[in-house]
């Protein structure tokens, strides 16, 4: 056994040297874990940010002016003041998510207490922005109207109030979320690509056959690729977490980084095994590429790293329980944002380890079979 591990170690070093010589691939890895993370974290805002809004002001009163002024940026872009006709066109063309129509005599009606309506047309195709934005608009408009009215009339404020606290990310800064989720996406994608490609490369260059006539078994060959590629990604994750997420993006990390890194290692065992699996199934690089997309995309999108898991159909949720990424996402969120310790995340870790071992075993079996069958 010691000899086999030693073989795997040496073959793994060979993989690292090969990778070192493929500069394009290296640059891709570096970019994915630096610039890629940065741009993904800073540019995407899951919460409301710069939502495009237009106002059709048919009242042109002091109050309607105040309402328009209340949208001063941050959540919404500075509103475009437009005519009613252009409102529909703007929604159709996707220029605006919200078009607010303040009816004529709005101020007068407010003061008269007839409770006039402001119409807000919302492009509901932009699902998340539409819903959150509607709430904000409601608050902003009613706030302005309320303030305006209070100068004239006193209003009993409701005695029961909500004291909301957003835990773990008080300002709901999206870069906190985006950066870590992007790391997870990259872990999955790169580890699958790197190992799968390393295997296909050996097959295409005939070196796999060469290895098989030496005193080496499938286990060593596979383990070598798994550990070396996992190590590369693992180090990249560590550096990225420390420099890009910690230093550049200034995301406060609540929990234990060693615990997260341990989780990453387990995840990498699973995803690199997956890479081997795909590598044995595909005969050449283009096939590997297509197969990779088929596997990686659902892993990224359905594991809860992009959208909340609980909103997915039951079937999807259950199927995704067999994906290591699902558990990894939940572990990452618990550890990094909520500061959870091993006492909390052990079920995720256990599930991942189970899946990883199963993947490794299945891949080894497949790999053995594929090399036995090759001519």
């Amino acid at each position: 056994m010691r000899k086999r591990l030693l073989n795997a170690w040496r073959l793994g070093l060979k993989e690292l040297m090969s990778l070192w010589n493929d500069k394009v691939l290296l640059i891709m890895i570096v970019w994915a874990f630096s610039g890629g993370i940065y741009s993904a974290a800073t540019a995407t805002s899951q919460e409301l940010h710069n939502a495009p809004i237009a106002i059709v002001d048919e009242d042109r009163s002091v109050l309607s002016g105040r309402i328009a002024d209340a949208f001063y940026g941050l959540y919404f872009r500075l509103p475009d003041m437009i005519t009613e006709a252009r409102g529909d066109a703007g929604l159709d063309a996707g220029l605006y998510t919200f078009v607010m129509v303040i009816p004529p005599d709005f101020e007068r009606d407010v003061l008269a207490g007839v409770q006039p309506s402001i119409q807000v047309n919302i492009d509901a195709m932009r699902v998340s922005q539409a819903f959150i934005g509607a709430g904000y608009i409601q608050n902003i408009v009613l706030g302005e109207v309320g303030e305006f009215v209070q100068h004239r009339r006193s209003e009993a404020a409701s005695p029961i109030t909500l004291a909301p606290t957003v835990m773990f990310n008080p300002n709901m800064t999206s870069s906190w979320f985006g950066s870590v989720m992007e790391i997870i996406n990259n872990v999955t994608m790169l580890s699958v690509i790197l190992t799968g490609a390393a295997l296909i490369r050996e097959r295409e260059h005939g070196t796999l056959e060469h290895l098989l006539v030496m005193p080496l078994g499938a286990f060593e060959i596979m383990l070598a690729k798994v550990w070396s590629m996992a190590l590369v990604v693992w180090i990249a994750v560590g550096l990225s977490l420390y420099f890009v997420v910690g230093r550049v993006l200034d995301v406060p990390i609540a929990g234990s980084i060693p615990l997260f890194m341990a989780g990453t290692l387990v995840q990498l065992l699973a995803t690199t095994s997956l890479g081997i699996f795909i590598g044995t199934l595909s005969r050449n690089m283009p096939q590997l590429g297509l197969m990779m997309i088929l596997v990686v995309l659902p892993l990224q999108l359905l594991s809860g790293g992009m959208t909340p898991r609980e909103s997915m159909p039951e079937v999807v949720q259950n199927i995704m329980l067999f994906a290591p990424t699902t558990h990894f996402v939940s572990l990452a969120q618990a550890v990094l944002y909520r500061g959870a310790g091993l006492d909390v995340v052990w079920p995720s870790l256990l599930a991942m380890a189970g899946i990883a071992l199963a993947f490794f075993g299945a891949s080894l079996l497949m790999f053995r079979r594929s090399i036995a069958a090759q001519g």
Binding site: P159, P286, I293
Partner: protein, 908 residues
């Protein structure tokens, strides 16, 4: 020989630090068969590539057919008059295409009309004996047949200059003889044609009209074979060449003598008993028997594809035999037997070392893998380096070594663990005579001194003569097996080569190639060479498109993935991604526990957004369960909530929301606030409390998607997503694959322009993507029941422009990447990130900032996303979306021109 076909003056060429050509001045005569001879890696191929205009000239001047090859205009003018066949078996052929389709493709590239092409192809295939294999894929041809096909492809346009780079390397003697007969016949038909050949076989060079002997990037001597022999006083070219070498290299070279073998007593080393291998209904190896004694050198001679390699694989345990058995040292071969593997050294036919590792790294790695004692490794590596003359290449990457040196490295690797037995599959193909002699000296030493049993396959007859015994193999059967001398005597032949050809002819049933003595076909009125090929030709473009299309169709796996893959993905994504925030888990720490507080909880639990979890008992528990991600929201209702509510006194309800996923937190807060307001309203009505009516109302109208169903928003967005990835990746890999496999040479060597090449390759992928697009639309409408409100025609038009742009993106990626892996990774990273996050899939581009915004603005998916959503759900028309269409359209020329600009028409 007064005329020259090519003139080189002071030509120099280097790859990095390696000098390939060193100040070469040479006039190559026209109208004859001119040969460049010399071992591998001396610069023959580089010189030919320069003459053909395939490679960029670094230094000096090259004139071919009377013009400067630096001049782009001259190059494109003489291109149709030159035919170039690169080194390597069928390197410029397309393996999935049939014989006819390959030749046909080249005919189209040279702008020939259908009828002309057909006559020419028929004639060429007839004269090369390939007519019977017209519909066989090129990949399934034997090496000799591949070379003949390559020749057909080269001759389709009646070139004035035919450049053949080592055309017979790795081809069996019968095929080789047939190949040269073919060339002679063609020359008889077209006496004006100049042929420029490079070769490492000195034997065949004797038949050339003019020779230039090359070594180390320099020309040693030129002249007719007779002149060279006279000058050196040698009796054959092999010896003459060695005489021409500089003194330093010649030193130590002497004729090889094989000492007689002393028979050893302890049983045979290798035994094969009725060894048979079948692949499907094809029998590759048919009941082969032999017995090889210890320390014997046993040769396996045979044409390509006759089963030599398969037999060797069965001996090594790589392939379990279908029938019969093989014994090594008295043990039946077993693939899992590690101990036997350690006693065997194996060298495969293909170069199978790690090209990206240096010579030293390769040696050390293998020494370690065979578990040589760590202390001895350095010494053993040094010994190998010394013995195999690898010292000067020690830190060179193996992939960058000349073929001959690479083979030496392979042998060094195969014997690094001092095996008892060596199995060598064509170890010397492509290695020069001096090096080959050196190689054999090593083998003989291993056999005679160390008692290593050597099982070697070869197609060099003089190597066969050196073996103790040989087997002649053809079509899976052993034709004859004995000592070389006995075989020659048995056929009454003059040499082993003749004896072998006699055996082969007997086995194949007929003489040589079909109709070798047939008179040369009547000259089919050769079209006068076109003055200059047009700058743009639809025919050439379509030739590439047609060929690519055929390749795509012949790769069913790729095609299935391209089509079925997108269908599977749209199902997963359409159902899976949902921006709806629902089924949030909440729990309450109720410190009041009155009807009022319970009503408040009821109100929340009753909403479709929330699912109530077991109540909380303490703040610590709240904290713990939130931390574990078990709860998305927690509420704390303070004591006296009910009493205060009734009396209208101020009271505060604590709400904790999990902020880990900001967008979900945001939405959750919205829900809680809404439900809170609801509750107050109801309480007010019930308790008769003062209503807290607002002075104004907001009337929210959710357009396009009243039910707020994510699927309506997601499905039209997933279509652009999938139409980005799959076409871009298919395309990128399609181009880079040509670079890796070598068929990119056809871009360099034929009149096809870069634009024609790129667009030609792009068209099939656009077609495939459009098919996949209609599949996606059908799924959206019939499975997801997302109605297509706008016109299908507009959507199709948008999709067409879009896939043109995304395949263009793939093209652009392919111009950077050199390996398929890199192309794949680069395309995946770029398209995935940009499409998923920056193109408005979840958030409109106008809401993005910074880099993301810029990327989004300059990414085609952004615009098609708008078109797709607009047409699917907003019932828009073309005129509403013209800005998006125009933006999308703008990507097409930009991407194409950028790719054209980055693609090079010559090799660097």
């Amino acid at each position: 020989m007064t005329e020259t076909v090519a003139r080189l003056a002071g030509v120099g060429l280097r790859y990095g630090n390696t000098v390939a050509l060193d100040d070469i001045t040479l006039d190559i005569p026209a109208g004859c068969m001119a040969g460049l001879i010399g071992p591998d890696g001396v610069g023959k191929s580089s010189l030919l590539a320069l003459v053909a205009g395939v490679r960029v000239i670094q230094q000096g001047g090259v004139e071919t057919l009377g013009g400067d090859m630096r001049d782009r205009r001259h190059r494109s003018a003489v291109c149709p008059r030159i035919a170039y066949m690169p080194q390597g078996l069928g390197r410029n052929l397309y393996m999935t295409l049939s014989v006819f389709e390959n030749v046909d493709f080249f005919g189209r590239l040279f702008g020939q009309a259908t009828r002309e092409r057909e006559t020419r192809i028929a004639e060429l295939l007839d004269s090369t004996g390939l007519a019977a294999f017209r519909d066989r894929p090129a990949g399934k041809l034997s090496g000799g047949m591949k070379q003949k096909l390559g020749l057909c492809c080269a001759l389709i346009h009646d070139p004035d200059l035919l450049i053949l780079d080592e055309p017979t390397t790795g081809v069996d003697p019968l095929s080789r003889r047939q190949f040269w007969q073919l060339i002679d016949r063609i020359r008889a038909r077209r006496p004006d044609m100049s042929v420029l050949v490079s070769s490492a076989y000195m034997g065949e060079a004797a038949g050339f009209d003019w020779l230039a002997a090359m070594d180390d990037g320099r020309v040693l001597a030129t002249g007719t074979p007779a002149e060279l022999l006279a000058r050196t006083g040698a009796k054959d070219l092999d010896a003459a060449f060695i005489e021409l070498l500089p003194l330093a290299k010649r030193q130590g070279h002497e004729a090889l003598v094989v000492p007689p073998r002393v028979a050893q007593a302890d049983g045979p080393a290798i035994v094969a008993e009725g060894l048979t291998m079948r692949f499907g209904d094809f029998t590759a190896v048919d009941h082969v028997d032999f017995e090889i004694g210890r320390g014997e050198i046993f040769g396996f001679l045979g044409s390509n594809g006759c089963g030599k390699t398969t037999t060797m694989k069965m001996l090594t345990g790589l392939l379990p035999p279908s029938e019969g058995r093989a014994l090594l040292f008295g043990h039946v071969v077993d693939g899992g037997d590690m101990d036997t593997r350690k006693r065997v050294g194996f060298m495969t036919q293909a170069f199978s070392l790690y090209g990206e590792l240096s010579v030293r790294q390769n040696l050390v790695l293998h020494a370690q893998l065979f578990h040589l004692p760590a202390a001895g490794i350095a010494a053993r590596v040094d010994e190998m380096v010394g013995r195999f003359g690898l010292a000067e290449y020690l830190d060179t990457q193996a992939a960058g070594l000349p073929l001959g040196i690479r083979q030496r490295l392979s042998l060094a690797v195969a014997v690094i663990h001092k095996p008892d037995m060596l199995i060598l599959d064509e170890p010397t193909s492509g290695v020069d005579p001096v090096a080959r002699d050196g190689f054999w000296r090593l083998l003989i030493e291993l056999s005679r001194k160390d008692g290593v049993t050597i099982f070697v396959s070869t197609h060099f007859m003089n190597e066969g003569e050196r073996c103790d015994r040989i087997s002649l193999m053809h079509a899976g059967r052993v034709l004859a097996s004995d000592t070389p001398a006995a075989l020659i005597a048995r056929r009454g032949a003059a040499s082993l080569e003749e004896a072998f050809i006699a055996y082969l002819e007997e086995a194949t049933g007929d003489g040589a190639a079909p109709g070798p003595e047939a008179p040369p076909p009547a000259t089919a009125a050769p079209t006068p060479p076109a003055a200059r090929p047009a700058a743009f030709s639809r025919r050439r473009l379509l030739a590439y498109a047609r060929r690519e299309w055929l390749e795509v169709l012949r790769d069913p796996v790729r095609l299935t993935f391209a089509l079925l893959g997108s269908v599977i993905l749209v199902l997963i994504l359409g159902y899976g991604i949902s921006m709806d925030v629902e089924d949030l888990k909440f729990a309450v720490l109720d410190r009041d526990d009155t009807p009022e507080s319970r009503a408040y909880i009821e109100n929340m639990a009753g909403s479709r957004y929330f699912i109530e979890q077991p109540p909380l008992i303490s703040v610590e528990e709240l904290d713990r369960r939130m931390r574990a991600g078990e709860l998305s929201v927690a509420l704390e209702i303070p004591p006296e909530f009910g009493r205060r509510l009734r009396s209208g006194r101020a009271v505060e309800i604590g709400v904790w929301v999990d902020g880990a996923m900001p967008f979900r937190a945001e939405t959750t807060l919205g829900y809680v606030q809404g439900l809170h307001a609801d509750f107050l309203q109801q309480a007010a009505v019930r308790e008769g409390l003062p209503a807290t009516a607002h002075p104004a109302k907001l009337d929210m109208r959710y357009r396009y998607n009243q039910d707020f169903r994510s699927v309506f928003a997601m499905v039209p967005a997933v279509i652009p997503l999938l139409l980005t990835f799959i076409p871009a990746i298919l395309m990128a890999v399609g181009v880079v694959r040509e670079k890796e496999l070598g068929s990119i040479t056809n871009l360099y060597a034929t009149p096809v322009t870069r634009l024609e090449f790129l667009i030609g390759k792009q068209l099939p992928y656009i077609a495939v993507s459009m098919v996949s697009f209609y599949g996606l639309v059908a799924l959206a409408v019939f499975v997801f029941e997302v109605p297509l409100k706008g016109s299908l025609l507009s959507l199709s038009l948008g999709a067409l422009i879009f896939v043109t742009a995304t395949t263009g993106l793939g093209l652009l990626m392919s111009s950077f990447a050199r390996t398929q892996i890199a192309a794949l990774a680069a395309t995946a990273v770029v398209t995935m990130l940009a499409t998923v996050t920056f193109s408005g899939l979840t958030h409109p581009v106008s809401s993005l900032e910074g880099v993301g915004r810029t990327i989004g603005t300059f990414f085609p998916a952004t615009y098609f996303l708008n078109i797709s959503r607009g047409l699917f759900t907003k019932a828009l028309e073309m005129r509403d979306l013209y800005a998006d269409f125009l933006a999308l359209l703008a990507f097409v020329p930009v991407l194409t021109l950028l790719s054209v600009w980055l693609l090079k028409k010559q090799e660097r």
